[in-house]
C-alpha cells in the first residue's frame, strides 16, 4: 500500500489557451489534513475540480494516484464512489427536505421503490451521533438549522458515502465563532479516526490550527509545500502574495470632526419570526471622517442594524436617525442615498452586482441622472466618469462594458464600492467589504477607506474579521445578541477584548 492516500502529480489545466494550473503537486496521507492556500483566482477551486472530476480525466494533464493506483474518473459519481467528498462554500442543502432526506439524497434507502424513512432517520441519527451532534432532528426540514449545523449535516452526508478524503472549501465563511469551534474540533476527531482532508480557507489561523502540511499555490503554479511547524501565518501570506506584506493595513492619519449621524434606540424584529428581536435598542454616533468598526459574531444583528439605517431592512423596526442633529425619515434606500447615506451590502452576488450588465453601467446606476438631460443619457459624459473610476480604483477589466459577473471577486467588489462612492455620500456603510476578496484587492480597499475618511466621509464598517476591524477602525462598536455590548476607542484594543465583549463577558464602556 502506498504511503499516500492521494498523490496529484504535475497537474496542468488550460482554458482556451490560458494556463489555469501549471504543474501542481498535492499529496495527502491517511489521517492527514492539508491546508490549501492561495489568493482568489490562484487555482484552488480549479485544482479541486480536477480532483473531483468536474473536469473529467483527459481534459487536464498530469497524473492522479488514489491509494497507489491511477484514477481516471470521468464524473463526480466515480470520484464519490472512490471516497472523495467535497463540501462547497455555498451549502448544497435542499431547504424544504428533511435532514435525513438531504443526507441520503441520491443514495436513498428504499424498499421495493418506496422510501424507508425509519431506516434513513435511524441511520442519520447514528451518523450525526458519530459527529457528536445530538441536537439535530433528522426528520425536520433542513431550513430549521443554521449554517453551521447544515455544514455538519453535509459532513454526515459525506460520511454516509464512506468518504476517505474530505475536501472543505471555505467551510467557515458563514459560520459563527462557536460553530467554527465545533467544526474544527470535529475535523480533528475525524483525522484521529483516519479520515484525510484538504482544507481550503482564507482564514489562516484555522489552517494553522488543523493542518499538518500546507500547500500554497499562486497564479496556478506550485509555490511550496511545508509542514505547518515550519510556517507562521505571516509566512503563508508571504508565499501567497509573493511579496512581503509587512503592513496589511495602510493606516493614514485623518482628522475626525463633529457628529454627522446619530442613531437612537434602533430595534429590529426578525422577518420570518416577528416575535424575535434581532436588534435591541441600539444607539450610537458617528463623526465626520471617522472609521467606525462594528464587530460581533455572525447573527448578532449587525447587518440588520446597518440596513435599517439605509432603509433596506424588510422587517419591522423602530428608532430614529439624526443627520446633523435633525431627525430624518428614511423609508427606502432611495431616501438614504438622497440624504447622503450609501451602503455596500454584505452579499455581493445577491444584492451588490447587476450580473449581466456591464461593469461601467454597474458603477453609474445610482448617479445616472447626473449624466442625463430630459431622461436621455449622455453616454460620452458617462463613459468619461466610468474610465476615471476604473483607473482610480485599479479595476482590471478588458472593456468597461464587459458583464460584471465575468470579473474576479475583488474587481466586482471594487466596482460595487465605486457605485456607492459616486453619489458622494457623507456616510458610507460597508457590510463585510472584503469578504471573498483576495489579499491584494483587500489592501486596495483599505486604502480607499482611508482616502474616504481623509476626505471627511464617515465610514461605518461591519466586519467579521476582527484583525480587519482592529486594523482600520478609529472606534469599535461591539454588538452581541442584538445589543450594544461595547463602544471602544481603538487604542491598544485587543481581539480578546472585543470577543469578550461580543460574548457578553464584560460590560464596561470605554
Amino acid at each position: 500500500m502506498s504511503e499516500f492516500l492521494l498523490e496529484m502529480k504535475n497537474i496542468s489545466k488550460s482554458f482556451s489557451g490560458v494556463k489555469a494550473l501549471d504543474g501542481i503537486h498535492l499529496k495527502v496521507r491517511r489521517g492527514e489534513c492539508v491546508g490549501l492556500c492561495g489568493e482568489n483566482g490562484a487555482g484552488k477551486s480549479t485544482l479541486m475540480k480536477v480532483l473531483s472530476a468536474v473536469y473529467p480525466y483527459g481534459s487536464w494533464e498530469g497524473e492522479i494516484l488514489w491509494e497507489g493506483r491511477e484514477l481516471k474518473a470521468s464524473s463526480i459519481r466515480e470520484t464519490e464512489k472512490a471516497g472523495i467528498a467535497i463540501i462547497h462554500q455555498e451549502l448544497m442543502m435542499v431547504p424544504h427536505l428533511s435532514v435525513a432526506e438531504n443526507i441520503f439524497l441520491g443514495s436513498e434507502i428504499s424498499n421495493r421503490g418506496f422510501l424507508d424513512y425509519d431506516a434513513m432517520n435511524a441511520r442519520a441519527q447514528d451518523l450525526l451521533a458519530k459527529l457528536n451532534v445530538h441536537d439535530i432532528n433528522p426528520a425536520l426540514p433542513a431550513l430549521n438549522y443554521s449554517g453551521g449545523k447544515q455544514q455538519l449535516i453535509e459532513i454526515a452526508k459525506a460520511l454516509n458515502k464512506d468518504a476517505k478524503l474530505l475536501i472543505l472549501d471555505e467551510p467557515t465563511s458563514a459560520l459563527t465563532a462557536t460553530e467554527i469551534r465545533t467544526l474544527l474540533d470535529l475535523i480533528k476527531n475525524l483525522k484521529a479516526e483516519g479520515l484525510a482532508c484538504v482544507y481550503i480557507s482564507h482564514k489562516l489561523e484555522e489552517v494553522a490550527e488543523i493542518s499538518d502540511t500546507v500547500t500554497v499555490i499562486r497564479d496556478g503554479t506550485h509555490i511550496g509545500t511545508r509542514p505547518i511547524g515550519e510556517l507562521t501565518t505571516a509566512g503563508i501570506v508571504t508565499m501567497m502574495v509573493g511579496r512581503e506584506m509587512k503592513n496589511l493595513y495602510p493606516k493614514e492619519d485623518h482628522a475626525i470632526g463633529g457628529v454627522v449621524l446619530e442613531a437612537r434606540n434602533v430595534s429590529c424584529w426578525d422577518v420570518t419570526n416577528p416575535e424575535r428581536k434581532v436588534v435591541d435598542d441600539v444607539s450610537f454616533q458617528i463623526r465626520k471622517g471617522e472609521i467606525l468598526g462594528i464587530a460581533g459574531l455572525v447573527g448578532a444583528g449587525r447587518t440588520e442594524l446597518v440596513s435599517t439605517l439605509f432603509g433596506a431592512y424588510p422587517g419591522s423596526h423602530r428608532g430614529s436617525v439624526h443627520l446633523d442633529g435633525r431627525e430624518i425619515t428614511i423609508r427606502s434606500p432611495r431616501d438614504a442615498v438622497k440624504a447622503g447615506i450609501c451602503m455596500v451590502p454584505e452579499d455581493r452576488k445577491r444584492s451588490g452586482i447587476l450580473p449581466i450588465i456591464g461593469v461601467g453601467h454597474n458603477m453609474t446606476i445610482s448617479v445616472l441622472n447626473r449624466f442625463a438631460a430630459f431622461g436621455l443619457i449622455d453616454e460620452h459624459e458617462e463613459l468619461a466618469q466610468i474610465q476615471a473610476e476604473i483607473l482610480r480604483l485599479k479595476i482590471k477589466t478588458a472593456d468597461p462594458m464587459l458583464p460584471i459577473a465575468s470579473l474576479s471577486g475583488g474587481n466586482q467588489q471594487k466596482a460595487v464600492l465605486s457605485k456607492m462612492m459616486l453619489p458622494d455620500p457623507r456616510i458610507l456603510i460597508l457590510d463585510e467589504p472584503t469578504r471573498g476578496v483576495d489579499v491584494g484587492a483587500k489592501y486596495e480597499i483599505y486604502k480607499l477607506i482611508f482616502a474616504l475618511a481623509k476626505a471627511g466621509v464617515a465610514v461605518l464598517m461591519v466586519s467579521s474579521e476582527l484583525t480587519e476591524v482592529l486594523g482600520i477602525s478609529d472606534r469599535v462598536l461591539v454588538i452581541g445578541e442584538g445589543r450594544l455590548r461595547g463602544d471602544f476607542v481603538n487604542d491598544n484594543l485587543t481581539q480578546e477584548h472585543v470577543l469578550a465583549a461580543a460574548l457578553g463577558q464584560t460590560t464596561q464602556m470605554a
Binding site: 451602503m343 445577491r350 450580473p355 449581466i356 450588465i357 443619457i377
Partner: protein, 387 residues
C-alpha cells in the same frame, strides 16, 4: 476556427442571424408559391409584402412593449384582452357616440395607460405576481368587452378612424422618411464611433462599419421602394416603425431604460442602489397598456369594426415574438428590434401558410414547433443556458 468565428459573430449580432432566418422562410415560401405559368411567386409580391407587414404591425406594437415587461422580469398575459377591450371602446365612442377622432384616440390611449398602470401597481406595490395579476386581467378585460359590446360587432367606424388601419402614405412621404432615417442612423453610427475612439474603446473596423451602414441603407431603400411600388407605406407600419424607434431609444439611451434592464438583471441590487424599482415596474406596465391601446385602435380601424373577440390570443403572439427575438425568460436581456423581427417571422409563417392553403390546425402546430426550435437555436448559439 472559421466556424467558431461565425458562431461568435452570430451570437454577438443576433439580429443578423434572425434576418437570415427571415430570408430562409421567405425563400421557402417564394419557392412553394411559384407559379410557372405566370412566372411570379405569389408570396414575393409587393402586394403581399405590404399585407404581411400590415398583419405583423399589431403583434409588433404589442411585442415592442412586451420586451420591456419580460426584460424587467415580469409577464403580461392580459394584453390580448386589453387590446379587445380598448378596441371595443374605440368602436363604441366612434360609432355610437360619434366622438371626433382625436377625442377617441386620446381617451383610448389614456384608458390603456391607466389599466396598464393598474396591472403594474398590483404587481410592484402589492406584490401579487404579474402572472396572476395579468391572468386575472385576461379574464376580466375580455368579460368587460363582451359586456360593453353586448357580444355583437359594432360597425361601421368612421372613415377617419379606418385610415389608421387601412390607409397608405403617399410615395414622396415614404421616400422622405427613408432618407431622413438613413441620415439619422449614419450620423448616430459616426457619433458613437467617434466617442468610443475618444475613450479608446473597441470599435469595429471602418470597413465593417461602412458595410453595416450600406446594409442598413439597402434594407431601408428596398423596403420603401417595394412598398411604394404597391400603394405606399401602410399607416400601421409607419406607426410600428415609430414605436420601434422610440422604444429603442428608451432601451438604449435613457435612464428609465437602463433601470428596466437593471431591475431585470438583479432587482434587489438595483433597489439597494437607490432606484425606485417599484415605480420602474409600474411604468413598464403602463407602457404596455399604452401599446395595447394603440394596437386596439389599429385593430378596430383595420377591421372597420369593434368585435368582442378582437385580439384573442394576442398576448401569446407578442410573447412568442419576444422569445424568438432573443429576449431572456430570466429577464435583463432582450432588444426591441429582435422582438419585431420575431413578430415578422411569426407573421411570415401565418401569411405564407395561409397562401398555400395549409389547414389552420397545421399552422398552429408548425408555429408552436418553430417557437421551440428558435429558442433552442438561440440557446446553443449563445452557448449559455437561459434557464
Amino acid at each position: 476556427m472559421t466556424n467558431m468565428n461565425l458562431r461568435k459573430f452570430l451570437s454577438e449580432n443576433k439580429i443578423v442571424a434572425l434576418l437570415i432566418v427571415v430570408g430562409l422562410i421567405w425563400a421557402l415560401f417564394g419557392y412553394l408559391t411559384y407559379n410557372a405559368d405566370t412566372g411570379v411567386s405569389g408570396f414575393l409580391t409587393a402586394r403581399n409584402f405590404s399585407n404581411l407587414l400590415r398583419q405583423m404591425a399589431i403583434t409588433g406594437i404589442l411585442a415592442a412593449a412586451m420586451v420591456f415587461v419580460i426584460v424587467a422580469g415580469e409577464i403580461d398575459l392580459s394584453v390580448g384582452s386589453l387590446l379587445g377591450l380598448l378596441g371595443g371602446i374605440a368602436a363604441i365612442l366612434d360609432v355610437v357616440y360619434g366622438w371626433p377622432l382625436a377625442g377617441t384616440i386620446s381617451f383610448v390611449l389614456l384608458a390603456g395607460a391607466a389599466l396598464g398602470l393598474m396591472n403594474g401597481w398590483l404587481t410592484a406595490y402589492l406584490g401579487i405576481p404579474s402572472f396572476i395579476v395579468t391572468l386575472g386581467g385576461q379574464l376580466a378585460f375580455r368579460g368587460a368587452v363582451l359586456g360593453l359590446t353586448g357580444g355583437i360587432t359594432i360597425a361601421p367606424v368612421s372613415p377617419s378612424l379606418r385610415y389608421i388601419g387601412q390607409g397608405y402614405l403617399p410615395g414622396w412621404f415614404g421616400n422622405g422618411c427613408a432618407i431622413a432615417l438613413f441620415l439619422l442612423l449614419a450620423f448616430m453610427a459616426f457619433r458613437t464611433r467617434r466617442k468610443r475612439l475618444q475613450h479608446s474603446l473597441r470599435v469595429p473596423t471602418p470597413v465593417m462599419e461602412v458595410m453595416k451602414l450600406v446594409g442598413i441603407g439597402v434594407l431601408i431603400l428596398g423596403f420603401v421602394l417595394v412598398l411604394n411600388s404597391y400603394q405606399g407605406i401602410p399607416v400601421p407600419v409607419l406607426v410600428l416603425l415609430f414605436v420601434l424607434g422610440i422604444f429603442t431609444i428608451i432601451a438604449k439611451g435613457t435612464v428609465f431604460g437602463r433601470y428596466i434592464y437593471a431591475v431585470g438583471s438583479n432587482a434587489e441590487a438595483t433597489r439597494l442602489s437607490g432606484v425606485n424599482t417599484n415605480l420602474v415596474k409600474m411604468v413598464v406596465f403602463g407602457l404596455m397598456g399604452l401599446m395595447a391601446a394603440l394596437a386596439g385602435l389599429t385593430t378596430t380601424a383595420r377591421l372597420a369594426a369593434g368585435t368582442p373577440s378582437a385580439g384573442f390570443g394576442g398576448e401569446l403572439d407578442a410573447i412568442a415574438s419576444c422569445f424568438i427575438g432573443g429576449t431572456s425568460m430570466r429577464g435583463g436581456v432582450g432588444s426591441v428590434i429582435g422582438a419585431l423581427v420575431g413578430a415578422l417571422i411569426m407573421a411570415s409563417l401565418d401569411n405564407g401558410m395561409s397562401m398555400l392553403g395549409v389547414d389552420t390546425f397545421w399552422q398552429q402546430i408548425i408555429k408552436g414547433i418553430i417557437l421551440v426550435i428558435a429558442v433552442y437555436l438561440d440557446i446553443i448559439s449563445s452557448g449559455v443556458k437561459r434557464l
